[in-house]
């Protein structure tokens, strides 16, 4: 068994005991990335020299100073700023941008001993669900390279699924961690809003954004979130709630767990075979002692459009910072300041990003603000109330993570509206600020299917407990992709 096929927990056991060195892990990891990334293009930047230097440094440390992720390779979505390492947001606008500080999650990972091996591909500024809007070209799905890995954190999901790294970070504004996790057959967690500091995460939609975690097993995911979660002086929206050790929640005991299954989650628009895989998963949970009941969410069909309005409105404000003057891309074709702004943005932003900024500007304009933006915020309240009622009686809400398996490359052209059926499943966790994770629950035509488990605010422990119990009762997580296409 190769080192790169091991989980972070397995690597930890070997590294802490000194049975392998960080240098050995890193050499094999970098070699795997070199071979594999030619086929899937998950990385925008591989930090070869930095990772090697860090490995040597870590190997010099004494056992009592080693953190929980000592020597574990991790990949970072390229919208999380990394000191002295390019952070492009997969945009021409930031092609050569080298941040002068670290995101809080990067400092936490470093303190825990993790090794950042590079920056991962994504949809430009996290706007998309296929990784096809990346300025640097798309990433391919390791299960079948004719398909997309999902998005926007497509590189983060593909790198973990393909065995390039055991762990990665992504961000989830409207499903951007869970959907690619489902499409790539791995575990992806969007924690509660405020659970993880967003200091250093390039803002897309500030009332929705959250950093999330990717891994091949539930245990690894729980370990990674335990390391990066917590309050941060630099992010006033981060929660002061104590961070539990999530790995302690993996008891396997789901007896009496109350599971709500929204009828709409298995209805119209959801692929029949995907629905069948999810129903089978519910059967597994029932056999472990969980009690599943159907519930109604009266406003759920409005979730995607509510999300489009709110996320675009917030994005148009957040992206106004890219002016080409303080950092990032700068047009060569400006004679005055006004032209510099117009041309820098015209040349620096891609089409999807411009579209969302323009739509957000329309929604926030005096004529439409009340009837579109404020109305969407009110519908958001109604959607949140629907979920609040369900969670008064139930511990978790379960359904598919996505309505279908991965799309073929170019099939959707990255068009937002095509993804409506998927967005019904993806965006409620962001609109309501609730935690949700995706765990592999089957295959349709050799492409993975994800089971989505949504929970109470700050109750990531229950999500990990349920996902772990399910994972241990099945063997979908043991399958690995062959990285081939042309079918």
């Amino acid at each position: 068994m190769t080192l790169t096929s091991k989980t972070a927990a397995e690597l930890q056991a070997l590294l802490q005991k000194g049975e392998v060195t960080v240098k050995e892990v890193m050499e094999e990891t970098l070699q795997t990335i070199e071979q594999t990334d030619k086929k899937i293009h998950a990385f925008i930047h591989v930090a070869t020299d930095e990772a090697k230097a860090r490995a040597e440094q870590l190997d010099q440390t004494t056992a009592d100073t080693r953190g929980r992720l000592f020597g574990v390779p991790i990949g970072i979505k390229d919208n999380i700023v990394t000191l002295d390492m390019t952070t492009t947001c997969a945009s021409k606008m930031l092609e050569d941008f080298v941040p002068v500080y670290n995101a809080t999650v990067m400092n936490k990972l470093e303190a825990a001993g993790a090794v950042n091996v590079g920056k991962l591909n994504m949809d430009e500024f996290a706007m998309g669900s296929t990784t096809e809007t990346s300025y640097f070209g798309n990433t391919l799905n390791p299960w079948n390279t004719d398909y997309v890995p999902g998005g926007s954190s497509g590189g983060s999901a593909a790198a973990v699924a393909a065995g390039e790294v055991p762990l990665s970070l992504g961000s989830d504004t409207g499903g951007s961690v869970r959907q690619p996790a489902a499409f790539c057959g791995i575990v992806g967690m969007k924690p509660t809003y405020g659970r993880v500091s967003r200091f250093g995460l390039t803002a897309f939609a500030s009332s929705l954004d959250q950093i999330g975690t990717f891994s091949r097993t539930v245990e690894d995911n729980a370990l990674l979130l335990s390391v990066i979660a917590g309050e941060d002086d630099n992010d006033s929206s981060s929660s002061a709630k104590q961070v539990p050790d999530y790995t302690q929640a993996l008891t396997g005991d789901v007896k009496g767990l109350k599971v709500a299954v929204p009828t709409s989650y298995l209805g119209e628009g959801v692929d029949e075979e995907v629905a069948a895989a999810v129903k089978e998963a519910l059967g597994v949970l029932e056999s472990l002692g969980a009690v599943c009941e159907e519930v109604e969410l009266p406003h759920i069909q409005y979730a995607p459009t509510t999300y489009y309005v709110i996320s675009s409105s917030e994005a148009q404000s957040n992206l106004s910072r890219f002016d080409g003057l303080r950092y990032g891309f700068h047009t060569e074709n400006a004679e005055n300041l006004e032209q510099a702004y117009f041309r820098t943005r015209q040349e620096g932003f891609g089409e999807e990003v411009k579209k969302r900024i323009l739509f957000g500007t329309y929604a926030m304009s005096a004529d439409h603000h009340e009837d579109l933006y404020v109305r969407a915020q009110k519908v958001r309240t109604l959607i949140a109330q629907d979920f609040n009622e369900v969670f008064e009686k139930y511990d978790v809400v379960i359904g598919p993570t996505t309505a279908t398996t991965a799309f073929k490359l170019g099939e959707t052209g990255g068009d937002q509206l095509v993804h409506y059926a998927n967005d019904v499943l993806a965006v409620p966790a962001n609109l309501t600020g609730r935690p949700a994770l995706s765990v592999p629950c089957g295959f349709v035509n050799e492409l993975p299917v994800g089971l989505q488990i949504m929970g109470k605010h700050f109750d990531e422990e229950t999500l990990y407990k349920v996902a772990h119990a399910y994972e241990q009762a099945t063997d979908f997580h043991k399958r690995t992709p062959s990285i081939q296409g042309g079918n």
Binding site: L208, T305, L325, F342, Y362, A376, K378, R380, T381
Partner: protein, 95 residues
């Protein structure tokens, strides 16, 4: 059918200072019209007496002492800028 004209594209692009070509106007007028059409379903919802939700987790008055900290060196921050002079970011002519 919702319309969003090429003039509309220019009107909103000017607000956010994004340059648009004739081709851009064509593309965005069609795409944004589709989006506006799509989100029109929000008009069906009865939102009488419903408060808007601005933030997913209720948090009140997150405050701290306003004390300056030694965070980043001016030179380091200026290094990212396209052009600089005397410790400030230099911009193209305003007029």
């Amino acid at each position: 059918m919702t319309t969003f004209s090429k003039d509309d594209v220019k009107y909103f692009a000017d607000f956010v200072r994004i340059g648009v070509s004739e081709e851009d106007k064509e593309i965005f007028s069609a795409k944004i019209a589709d989006l506006i059409e799509s989100v029109s379903n929000l008009k069906e919802v009865d939102v009488t007496n419903v408060e808007p939700m601005t933030h997913p987790i209720a948090m009140i008055n997150v405050l701290r002492e306003d004390q300056p900290k030694d965070i980043l060196d001016r030179e380091i921050m200026l290094a990212s800028a396209e052009d600089q002079e005397d410790g400030s970011i230099k911009v193209p002519d305003i007029l």
